[in-house]
């Protein structure tokens, strides 16, 4: 089947016009537009000190670990648990010391705070903080944690934490003397408490057995966040079989000390199983932020590498071909050599011995890519253009060789350059992703590759954390497919035999 041979399109403007007329061109351009829009919008929508905070564990403490996106609820067919943060009263401010009986305001949170001073059996101050919250999800929370700030004099106070359930079978979770003073919080990680004696797990087990005659046989791991929220009964210690008890829970904290002024504040987090739009990773980080900020990094690296390398290769290839002689030979052989070089291993070698910075690697990449396959393409086009009549005309009116090159030949190469840039951006995006995946990218910035790499080392695939894998992978694929489609439609316009007409 012979195709008619249309007139080749040459000028950049007309090429672009043709590209926009193809369907793949439109799709490619609009995908690219979405990405660019994202890059421009991200700093305003998700303002975030990425380099400073992404790697900082403290920033993410209130997020659940390995949480699925919130909208996965639609497929789960049940209500999943959202994180509830019972915020402290004096969130950033100092804790007021009190010794007068009466209620105290709680500007930061919803706690009810009461102070009692009694002299019946000696001079004592009690501060009670009580907070009610609803738990209506169909699944258990993933973790529980409590932080208590205490301010006290020389005598150690006593901290009592009580757990009140909707079924009114209550339990005293903790009775300890807090050892840290304000501003250092006392952390009570209720879910992960592993102190050998009198652990919360043991306490909860005994409570469940006494009150509900729960079955503790064949139960190897008691999860406090399950049993505390479970319906009373035989199965409440077994996290696979326990059923959620919905309703209003109350957390009560009481601090007591003899005859000195006292201050207390508390924060509790009931960690959920879902979080945000894109879920979280094992370091509790909000993946949405990492994904959004991964776009500028990927695009910047891919675009800079592609533009610089393709332009360098085109210009060097054209120059060498135009001036010919041993220049041509040198560029050709250098291109052949650099193409066979094991570039990725060399980049890894550099990253491992010197510094894992993607911008250094970008420089190295350019250093090894100043000639290459694009110079060969440029060469073949220059050889073709050289023979055309208008070049002969230019020669005949006495234009210098340099003038002809820059005025008449390089502009002809421009559309091809665009196509080649579009076609080579994906490989550079993936190069960056590969390096980040191996942990040799920029350690401070979140990139799609590094998120995927952490998902791999965190065994996300075997643990079924699909959001941690699919979203960054989708981001990379989306960006690269955009450029691939663009490059393809350029190719179609520039190589008219392949045109669909």
């Amino acid at each position: 089947m012979a195709l008619p041979l249309p007139v080749p399109v040459t000028g950049l403007k007309s090429v672009l016009k043709e590209v926009v007329r193809t369907r793949t061109g439109v799709v490619g351009f609009s995908m690219l537009g979405v990405l660019l829009g994202l890059v421009l919008v991200v700093p305003f929508v998700a303002p975030f000190d990425v380099a400073g905070e992404w790697g900082d564990r403290q920033v993410w403490l209130d997020n659940p670990r390995d949480a699925a996106p919130e909208w996965s609820e639609w497929f789960a067919g049940k209500q999943l648990a959202r994180t509830q943060i019972l915020t402290p009263c004096n969130a950033p401010g100092p804790i007021p010391l009190s010794n007068a009986t009466g209620s105290e305001p709680c500007p930061g949170g919803g706690w009810k705070k009461l102070v009692r001073r009694t002299t019946i059996f000696g001079d004592y101050v009690f501060i009670t903080m009580e907070r009610k919250f609803q738990f209506t999800a169909d699944v258990f929370p993933s973790e529980l944690s409590l932080a208590v700030w205490a301010d006290f004099g020389s005598a150690a106070p006593l901290l009592t934490v009580e757990w009140k359930r909707p079924d009114n079978v209550n339990l005293t979770l903790l009775q300890v003397a807090p050892d840290q003073r304000v501003p250092t919080p006392n952390f009570y990680p209720l879910s992960t408490d592993t102190r050998p004696c009198c652990t919360i797990r043991e306490l909860i087990k005994n409570w469940a057995i006494t009150n509900f005659s729960a079955n503790a046989q064949n139960v190897t791991l008691i999860r406090p966040e399950v049993t505390l929220f479970a319906q009373g009964g035989r199965d409440m210690l077994d996290f696979r079989r326990a059923v959620v008890l919905k309703g209003e829970y109350t957390l009560k904290i009481e601090l007591a000390v003899g005859a000195v002024e006292l201050g207390v504040d508390a924060k509790a987090v009931v960690y959920g199983t879902v979080f945000g739009v894109a879920g979280t990773d094992s370091s509790r980080r909000d993946l949405l932020i990492g994904l959004l900020w991964g776009a500028p990094v990927a695009l910047a690296f891919g675009a800079v590498a592609a533009v610089v390398i393709v332009l360098l290769q085109t210009i060097l290839g054209a120059l060498a071909t135009w001036y010919g002689g041993w220049w041509d030979e040198v560029v050709q052989r250098a291109a052949d050599t650099l193409l066979i070089l094991p570039l990725l291993p060399i980049l890894l070698l550099i990253a491992i011995i010197y510094s894992p910075s993607i911008w250094l690697l970008l420089l190295v990449l350019i250093g090894f890519g100043f000639v290459g396959s694009t110079s060969k393409v440029a060469r073949s086009i220059v050889l073709q253009v050289k023979e055309e009549a208008y070049i002969e005309v230019a020669v005949s009116y006495g234009a210098s060789r340099a003038r002809i090159l820059f005025k008449h030949i390089l502009p002809r190469l421009l559309p091809y350059t665009f196509a080649l840039i579009a076609l080579s951006v994906p490989s550079f995006i993936f190069l960056e992703a590969s390096l980040s995946f191996l942990g040799l990218g920029d350690p401070l910035l979140p990139t799609w590759g590094s998120i995927l790499g952490q998902a791999y080392t965190g065994n996300a695939a075997f643990r079924g954390f699909w959001w941690w894998i699919t979203f960054p992978a989708a981001g990379i694929v989306f960006a690269t497919v955009a450029f691939a489609l663009l490059g393809y439609s350029f190719d179609k316009v520039l190589n008219p035999r392949l045109r669909e007409q």
């Binding site: 066979i340 070089l341 995927l452």
Partner: protein, 353 residues
């Protein structure tokens, strides 16, 4: 004779490239005296160990024992030329790399516990070659076959759809498919193993062992094929369409030859040499991509070794692997050149002449 000359010319160029790549590896690795330091530390360790193993030496008093160790160490450093200037040293190291004298690993060990980098690498090499050669061949066969189909039904819905599929799957590297496949076919629908080369414990029967390996190879191979077939099919399609436009095809049609014969005898024959050259780069990229693909599938080949070496900062292994990759790429290009020479009628003509 002409064919031999063609091959010799290509071979000489590739050997020069190989030496350049190895030299570059040495220069990069030893830029801050890194290799020197490793070698010195190993030499000192050797000197101390050989003294402790030697009855006479180990019973000397500490001062003369140290003097003996120091003397042995110094003589080794001189013998290996570690005290020479950078340029002559770099040539020596390059010569070592060319002869697979890759030194000793810092952390990694081969299956027998040995620490020779070359034995660690050569233990892994066949596994990588099995996986990548088989999937590259399948991808090439499948791609060429699809490309011919697409060209014959050019501009149909089949052609357009497959073209878009080809260009989009080509840009996605196999490890991205791999990590998604593991999620899908090893976790969600557990039909394939998530990684590894054989089951644990390994089968003893050779046939069962082979079948087990093929079973483990399926998922990585599909990922590799999916990411590689597109460039073959798209390139084949375009080349075939270009050739179908040539005058001699019209002539063949005019002679009334059946379409199948034209395709086989005229089109495929002239399309295959350029396909081979234009895809040399794809094959090279796939070798290098092995580093992550094998890591994702826990395939115990060279790429996985690279990942392990990075993880344990085992520089001698990384340097040795870079050298091996240089060898692999050069060899691949040489084989492709050979195939090209066999396919291209012009080179064939040289062979006859």
């Amino acid at each position: 004779m002409g064919f031999l000359r063609y091959l010799t010319k290509k071979g000489i160029f590739l050997i020069v490239t190989l030496v350049f790549a190895l030299y570059l590896t040495v220069v990069i690795a030893n830029f801050g005296g890194y290799v020197d330091e490793i070698l010195r530390a190993q030499a000192r360790f050797d000197a101390i160990r050989s003294c402790n193993q030697d009855l006479a030496c180990s019973q000397l008093d500490p001062a003369s024992k140290n003097a003996t160790i120091e003397g042995n160490y110094k003589s080794f450093v001189e013998a290996r030329g570690l005290n020479q200037d950078f340029v002559s040293k770099s040539f020596r190291f390059t010569w070592d790399l060319m002869n697979f004298r890759l030194g000793r690993a810092l952390e990694l060990r081969d299956v027998e516990g040995g620490d020779q980098v070359s034995s660690i690498i050569f233990e892994r090499l066949p596994r990588t070659i099995i996986l990548f050669t088989s999937s590259s061949l399948i991808a090439a066969g499948m791609g060429i076959w699809l490309g011919l189909r697409m060209a014959r039904r050019a501009l149909s819905a089949f052609d357009r759809g497959l073209t878009v599929v080809s260009i989009t799957t080509t840009v996605v590297p196999p490890w991205v498919f791999g990590i998604l496949f593991i999620l899908l076919f090893a976790f969600l629908f557990p039909i394939f193993p998530a990684g590894g080369m054989v089951s644990v414990p390994a089968k003893t029967d050779p046939l069962e062992y082979t079948l087990d390996m093929i079973y483990h190879m399926t998922l990585p191979a599909i990922a590799l094929i999916l990411s590689a077939f597109g460039s073959w099919s798209y390139t084949t399609r375009n080349l075939v369409l270009q050739i179908l436009d040539e005058d001699y095809i019209y002539a063949a049609r005019a002679r009334g030859l059946p379409e199948k014969t034209i395709l086989r005898r005229y089109v495929l024959r002239s399309a295959s040499p350029p396909t081979v050259t234009s895809l040399a780069l794809t094959v090279i990229a796939s070798w290098q991509g092995a580093i992550i693909t094998e890591t994702v599938f826990a395939w115990p080949g060279l790429g996985r070794l690279f990942f392990e070496a990075i993880g344990s900062l085992d520089a001698p292994v990384v340097i040795g692997l870079t050298a091996i990759y240089a060898y692999l790429l050069v060899l691949t290009v040489f084989i492709l050149d050979l195939v090209y020479g066999l396919l291209d009628p012009r080179v064939k003509a040289l062979r006859r002449g």
